[in-house]
Amino acid sequence: MLEIRSLNKYYNSEKGKVHALKDINLTIGHGEIIGLFGENGAGKTSLLKSILGFHSYKGEILLDGKIIDRSNIGKLSFATCEHSFFPNLSPKEHKEFYQMHFGTFRLKRFEALMNFFELPMNKPLKAYSTGQKNQFEVIMALCQGAEYILMDEPFAGNDVFNREDFYKVLLGILEPEETIFLSTHLIEEVEHFISRAVLLKRGQLRSDVTTLELEDEGKSLMDYVKEMYHYRADRVSKALKEMGGEL
């Protein structure tokens, strides 16, 4: 279980000290597929990077009751739109590196996913297309053998068919104890893939709801997100009207 308690994250910007995460409390159990949503700058990436220990923070993050350090960080994997593979290495060399350093590496899954997405095994990653790089990034996160797979906008740049394939494959290959924590803007796309939605707004945990609860209320995830964000549907038409008046 991943427990986040009273998490606060500050960073310095040109405008001064920014309170990026405000008293976040969250518990993530085994086997959940959680969508992390929020506007740009809501704190999604800060939250994921704090969990991974890439950012300093105030508060407590525990993994199975223990502080996350070198002894248990292997239980976490990370796929990011920034990419974290070694650009000069081929997938084959990545496989060897991961096998050497992550005892839990899932070789069969790796080979199956590489075949499914028809990615060349001996080509350096820097020579891949953006879509292929994204695919590989996610494949490595899925194959590390981690219990908690954190993803930060992993499909940015992939076409819709490709993303669709990924969701299906993910649902097919995940084992019951594997947890996905996926930060994305693609709310409608992941609605039927996730079991729980966490919403951040300006660094605060705005909502934490299961998709079952939403179904019971007869709401779509998109409607729910709009509601939580107090989205004004007439905002665009009003603005256009005003602009039209000026023109």
């Binding site: 292997g74 650009p87 350093h101």
Partner: protein, 157 residues
């Protein structure tokens, strides 16, 4: 042949680094040799005198000790050492180049893997360079022994 790749960050083109080190080292050694050759020539010439158009060893002439002909020899190794120290830092920032592979390195169970990948290559390079520099120093000594007349060798050389 030792696989040097394992002493550098994954995918790092270490051969370019070795070429650069080799070039800096060679330039330093060339300069060192030029100074040594000049000093050796002057020291040898100082042992001789011209007697009726004939070059002869001066009576009681003693050659300058070898050590004075190669002053501060190891100074020429300093640029190599500085370059290798810079490379240690560069190897760390390599993990931020093009992608953030640092995220993978920070998820490894031991911190030593990353430290080793940043430091081991330059340390090996430094050791190889030092061995080469010392070997060349002995070569100079051989040259000194060869060129200086036996009867002029200093007593405690």
């Amino acid at each position: 042949m030792m696989d040097m790749k394992k002493f550098y960050p994954p995918g790092y083109e270490y051969k370019k680094e070795w070429s650069a080190v080799g070039t800096i080292f060679a330039l330093g050694e060339m300069l060192a040799f030029w100074l040594f050759a000049e000093n050796l020539h002057s020291a040898r010439e100082a042992l001789f005198t011209w007697v009726v158009g004939k070059k002869e060893i001066m009576e009681g002439a003693v050659a300058e000790p070898f050590i004075t002909l190669v002053p501060g020899y190891m100074m020429f190794f300093i640029p190599v050492a500085i370059f290798l120290i810079v490379m240690v830092v560069y190897h760390y920032f390599y993990y931020y180049q093009y992608t953030k592979s640092i995220y993978v390195m920070r998820r490894l169970s031991t911190h030593s893997v990353m430290i080793k990948s940043c430091v081991a290559g330059p340390v090996i390079c430094m050791i190889v360079g030092l061995i080469a520099a010392v070997s060349i120093y002995f070569l100079y000594f051989g040259l000194y022994m060869l060129i200086m007349p036996n009867e002029c060798m200093p007593r405690f050389m």
